[in-house]
């Protein structure tokens, strides 16, 4: 509930900008006070003072998260008209609509930091902003819809639950809303997998094939290993992030390997072993070159996803224009 106008005022009101020396001392004091608030688990709200890097980190992270939700509608939307039953179709339609909602909650959260949604969308359309690498993989069979719900939404849950305690209030509140809805997504996906796994040999094969193709890209969703990950230090100190990439990846593997076994499916990792001492499943090497390629725009569907998103934006232009003209006409009439 914080308008851009308010945020602009807050920025204009920054004192002593004219004297960089004074500003520096002020900033050091403010920075320390800010860190104390974070350490005390206080939430930061939109018009509170915050370091510029905190603001920028959040704008980037929240907008990338929003873009991912929006682009993420494409691989699943691909199967809405071909869902095998009315029950599955209704569920998939509701899920894809939820993902759109997630994108919109997140754009709204990013806007509280003083950027306009239109600006963020432009960054996506121009290719300047990134979205989750996972959505650049194709959905070839119906089983992929099961695998996405189970694994991709499962990974999203692992990522998003700690974000409900993110130090930035609007992001944390958006995540609470999102997490409430994700559980349905994950369950409907697993139910699809279970149905296929208990079906005919061909259906079981489809389920296994989907797991084979989605497993590794899902592990990559958590981002590069801790040894090479950028951004993490300040994000952890400022409690934007509470777990490292590797920690979240481990949680995901520990949760999903037994679920794969329950389905009677094989995780496509010959090196996967259970380490009884630590109680963790240990995975084999991840192909980080593939990840880099997909992030750089060379994944199987990057071009298709962006072309579709740009086309949609263009196709919607006349609708936005008509709605604006209608609102304008009514305002003029009322005046």
């Amino acid at each position: 509930m914080y308008t851009q106008a308010l945020n602009a005022q807050a920025l204009d009101a920054e004192p002593d900008r004219a004297d960089p020396g004074v500003a520096k001392v002020e900033d050091a004091v403010r920075l320390q006070r800010f860190q104390e608030r974070i350490d005390a688990e206080e939430r930061i709200e939109p018009n509170d003072w915050m370091p510029e890097l905190y603001r920028r980190t959040l704008v980037r992270q929240i907008s990338q998260h929003a873009h991912s939700e929006i682009i993420g509608m494409q691989p699943e939307g691909n199967w809405i008209t071909r869902a095998p039953s009315l029950r599955r179709k209704a569920a998939l339609l509701a899920k894809v609509q939820d993902e759109c909602g997630h994108g919109l909650y997140l754009y709204a959260a990013a806007e509280t930091l003083g950027v306009a949604r239109e600006e963020l969308v432009d960054q996506l359309l121009s290719g300047k902003a990134k979205y989750s690498s996972i959505f650049n993989y194709p959905t070839l069979t119906w089983a992929d819809i099961g695998a996405i719900g189970w694994l991709v939404d499962g990974a999203a849950i692992m990522n998003q639950i700690p974000l409900c305690r993110c130090s930035y209030g609007p992001y944390a509140r958006a995540m609470i809303r999102v997490c409430k809805e994700e559980s349905f997504h994950q369950r409907q996906g697993y139910e699809i997998m279970l149905t296929l796994a208990r079906g005919t040999d061909e259906q079981k094969e489809m389920a296994q094939d989907a797991l084979n193709r989605w497993w590794w890209p899902c592990l990559m969703m958590f981002g590069p290993p801790d040894t090479v990950s950028q951004h993490s230090d300040s994000s952890m100190r400022w409690k934007i992030k509470r777990f490292s990439n590797d920690e979240l990846r481990q949680k995901f593997i520990d949760a999903t390997v037994p679920q794969a076994h329950y389905l009677g499916l094989t995780v496509p990792d010959p090196a996967l072993t259970f380490d009884a001492a630590s109680g963790h499943w240990r995975h084999g090497p991840i192909d980080w070159d593939e990840f880099k390629q997909v992030v750089a725009g060379n994944g199987p569907c990057n071009a298709e996803r962006m072309a579709r998103r740009r086309q949609t934006e263009e196709d919607g232009a006349w609708v936005r224009e008509a709605a604006r003209a209608y609102a304008e006409k009514n305002r003029a009439k009322a005046a």
Binding site: T3, N47, G101, R324, R331
Partner: protein, 95 residues
């Protein structure tokens, strides 16, 4: 020509009768009718509400968090506004 930005609205939802409307989030819409419809689609997909208010964000005047000391201090120093300030023997009981 770049498109003009679509105005921002704040959404308040009454989750059931007897409770007050509570801030649920924001959205963009060209006018109030579309804002209401978008609020229904965006914030009440699972029976979260029985009534919605939408308010143009720029119609809200907010207090400045940087001034919260000055703004709210008077309530902190006036302990005599709380019942615990007054000493009454236990046997009197309370109402």
């Amino acid at each position: 020509m770049p498109e003009a930005n679509i105005p921002l609205w704040e959404v308040f939802i009454r989750s059931r009768n007897g409770l007050s409307h509570k801030h649920a989030g924001s959205l963009h819409a060209p006018d109030a009718t579309l804002a209401l419809q978008a609020a229904r689609d965006l914030y009440t997909r699972r029976g979260e509400g029985v009534s919605i208010w939408v308010v143009p964000s720029n119609a809200i005047t907010a207090s400045d968090p940087a001034e919260k000391g000055m703004m709210f201090e008077p309530t902190a120093s006036k302990v005599y506004r709380h019942p615990t300030f007054y000493e009454i023997p236990d046997e009197v009981g309370h109402m």
